[in-house]
Amino acid sequence: MSDIAISVSNLSKRYRIGHANNVDWGLRHAIEKFLRNPFKWWRNRKIQTEDFWALDDVSFEVKNGEVLGIIGRNGAGKSTLLKILSRITEPTTGRISICGRVASLLEVGTGFHPELTGRENIYLNGAILGMTRAEIKRKFDEIVAFSEVERFLDTPVKRYSSGMYVRLAFAVAAHLEPEILIVDEVLAVGDAQFQKKCIGKMQDVATREGRTVLFVSHNMGSLVQFCERGILLEHGKVAAQGPIDLVVKHYFSSAAKNAVWKANPHDAFRPQKKVFFRRVELLDADGAPSTELDVHKHFFVHMEYEVPRAFKPVELSVRILTTDGAPVMTSMLSDCEQSAPEIEKHGVYRATVRIPGMFLMPGSYLINVAAHAGAGEVFDSLPGIFGFIVLDTGTNYTKYQHNHHMGVVMRALDWQDELVAMRNGHEFPDIKIAEAI
C-alpha cells in the first residue's frame, strides 16, 4: 500500500454563470424563450453563459497521516476544492484518487433538526456523516461527555443555547472514525475554551491516531499549530506549497504587498450578491495605500461597495485581528449614526473608517471587512483581506522587545499615585484602604 492518501492531479472546476440579462432561471422564462424562437433558443442555450474557473489545474499530494492546511483568500477556491474532495460536487476535469474512508465537516451541525432532542440529533447527524447505527451507539457516551450537555439530552435542540448546540454538533463530528478528515473553518465557533478543546481533539486525531487531515481556516495561529504542510490557493491555482510556516509567510507577504483590493472583474458570483464590495483600500494618514503604518498616526479603511437594487440599510463592519486570529475590535457603520448613508437608492457607495493612532500595539494584524443586514444575513465578507504592520516609531513600549506580550492595544490611562503615609521607624500608621481610595 502506498503512503499517499490523496492524490489530486490537474483538477479544474468550471462554473457556468448566466449573464445579468439571463439570471432569471424560472420555468416560465425557459418556456417563453423556447416558444419565442425555438431555433434561436437551441443555438443560444450554451452561448449565454460565461465560464468561471473556480479551480484551475490544481495538483498536490497528501501523505498518510499528514495534516495539510489549505490557505487562501475568499474566492481562491478553497471551498470548491473541499466540496470536490468530499464528493458534494463533481470536478470538470482532472482526477483525484483517495485511499481511505473520507468524512468531511464543511459546517458544524449539518442536518441537525431543531425539533429533535439532543439524543435523536446525535443519531441523525451521525448517520448523515456516514456512521452506522452500531458505531454511534458505541460512541454515544463519549460524544455526550465531550459535548457537556448530558442534562439536556432529551430537550429539543431548538431550546439549546447556541454554545450547547455547537458543542453537541462538534462532538458528533469529532468522534467520526474516518481515515481522512476534511475540516472547513468549523473551529471558528463556540467560546474560547471550547475552541481550545476542539483543537486539542483535532490534534489527537491527527497525531496520536495518525489520521490524514485536510484543514481550511483563516486562523493562521491554529493552522501553524496544527498543520505540517500547507497549500496556498490564489485565484483557483496553487500559489505555494510546502512547510506550513513558509506557506503562511508567503500568504502574509502576498497580503501585505497590496493594500488595495479590487473585485476580480471575472468573478461573476460577486455581482449577484445584494451588496458587494468593489474595492477596499488600506490608507495611511496621508491617504496613500500602505500596509506599513506608523503607530503614532491614524489610518483608514476605505470601502467602495455596490448595492445593485434598492435595499434597507446596510451594515458594514471592519474587524481587526491579531495574526493568530483573535479579534482585537470590531467597528460597525451603525456605531456612528450620522454617517450612515441612505441606502434607498441603488448605486455605488463609499465608506471610510478612521482608526486612531496610538491605539494598536506595534505588530502584525489582519483586517476583515463585511457587509451584512444588521446581525443577520451576510451579503459579502472578505476575511483577512489585508495584513498590515503597525510600526513602532518610538513609544513608551519600545523598551519592551515583544510588544504583543504587553497586550494588543495601548491606551493612556489616568493613574493616580500619591503618598498616603510616611513610614515612621518600623511601624506603619493604621490606614484604612477604603479611605485612601
Partner: protein, 272 residues
C-alpha cells in the same frame, strides 16, 4: 485495506450503487426524522395520518351520494376508501419527495451521500401513513361485515406498483424542483386534477366508451382499479389494457426517473 476511491467527471455507476447500500441507514434515519417531526407540537399527533384520509373519505362519500354515482354494489364509503388509499399515498409521496431535496438543501450542499436517499425516504414516510390508513380499511370492512374474495392475494402486486409509481414520479419532480422551483406550485394542482382524472369517485366502467382507452393509459387508473378489484371484487372490473398500461407505465416511470435523477444529481449541489 480500503479500496481507492477515484473522483472524476462522470464517476462510475458501480460506486454509486455501493454507496447507496452503505448509506442505507441514512435512508431509515431520514424517514424516521420526518415522521418524528411531522407531528411535533400537534395535539392529536400521529392520529392526523388517520384523520386526513378519513375526512377526505367523508367528503367524497357525500359527493358520491348527492350525485348518485355508482359504487359497484358496495357501501359508498368502502368504495371510496379502497381507492383513496392508493391515491393518497401516491399524491402525498409525490409531493413530499418532490419537495424533499429543496427542504433538505442544507444537506445536499454540505455533505455527500447518494441524493437518491432523500426522495426515497420521503416515499417511505408516506408509506407509513399508507399502512396506517390500510389498517383503518380493515376496520371499515369489519364494520360493514365485508369479506374480500380470494383476489385479495393480488393486492401486494398493486401495492408494489403504486410504490413504484410514487418513486418514479417523485424522482422526476424532485430533480425538476431543484432546477425549477415552479414545480412547488405546479404539484398541488396536479394532485387536485389527478383526484378527478383517476377513478377515486368514479368507476372506470362508467367512463364513456369513446374515452375509456385514453383514460386507461394513465397508469394510476389501472392501479386504483386493481386495488378495488382485489379488495372489493364484485362489479369492479379490471380491464386488461389498464393492467398493461400500469405495469409498462410504472416501469417506464421508475427507469426514466432514475435516469433523469442520476443525470441531474452531479450538478445538484451547484444548483440548489
Amino acid at each position: 485495506m480500503t479500496p481507492t476511491l477515484v473522483i472524476e467527471a462522470g464517476r462510475t455507476e458501480r460506486q454509486y450503487w455501493q454507496d447507496l447500500w452503505r448509506f442505507r441507514e441514512l435512508f431509515y434515519f431520514l424517514a424516521w426524522r420526518d415522521f418524528l417531526i411531522r407531528y411535533k407540537q400537534t395535539i392529536v399527533g400521529v392520529s392526523w395520518s388517520l384523520i386526513k384520509p378519513l375526512l377526505t373519505m367523508l367528503i367524497l362519500t357525500m359527493v358520491s351520494r348527492f350525485a348518485h354515482l355508482p359504487t359497484g354494489g358496495v357501501p359508498a364509503s368502502l368504495f371510496i376508501f379502497s381507492a383513496l388509499l392508493p391515491w393518497q399515498f401516491f399524491s402525498t409521496a409525490m409531493s413530499e419527495s418532490g419537495n424533499s431535496l429543496v427542504t433538505n438543501s442544507n444537506l445536499v450542499s454540505k455533505v455527500y451521500f447518494p441524493r437518491l436517499v432523500v426522495p426515497a425516504s420521503s416515499v417511505l414516510v408516506s408509506f407509513v401513513d399508507f399502512v396506517i390508513s390500510g389498517l383503518f380499511l380493515v376496520v371499515l370492512m369489519f364494520y360493514f361485515h365485508f369479506i374480500p374474495s380470494s383476489k385479495i392475494i393480488f393486492l401486494p402486486a398493486f401495492v408494489a406498483l403504486i410504490f413504484g409509481a410514487a418513486v418514479g414520479t417523485g424522482l422526476w419532480i424532485a430533480a425538476l424542483t431543484v432546477r425549477f422551483r415552479d414545480f412547488r406550485f405546479i404539484v398541488p394542482f396536479l394532485v387536485q386534477f389527478g383526484l378527478y382524472a383517476s377513478p377515486v369517485i368514479l368507476m372506470t366502467s362508467h367512463v364513456n366508451e369513446k374515452w375509456r382507452l385514453l383514460y386507461c393509459l394513465n397508469p394510476i387508473v389501472g392501479i386504483i382499479d386493481g386495488f378495488r378489484w382485489s379488495i372489493l371484487g364484485g362489479e369492479n372490473i379490471l380491464y386488461r389494457t389498464e393492467v398493461i398500461a400500469s405495469v409498462v407505465g410504472v416501469i417506464l416511470l421508475v427507469a426514466s426517473g432514475l435516469w433523469f435523477f442520476r443525470k441531474f444529481e452531479r450538478t445538484m449541489a451547484d444548483m440548489i
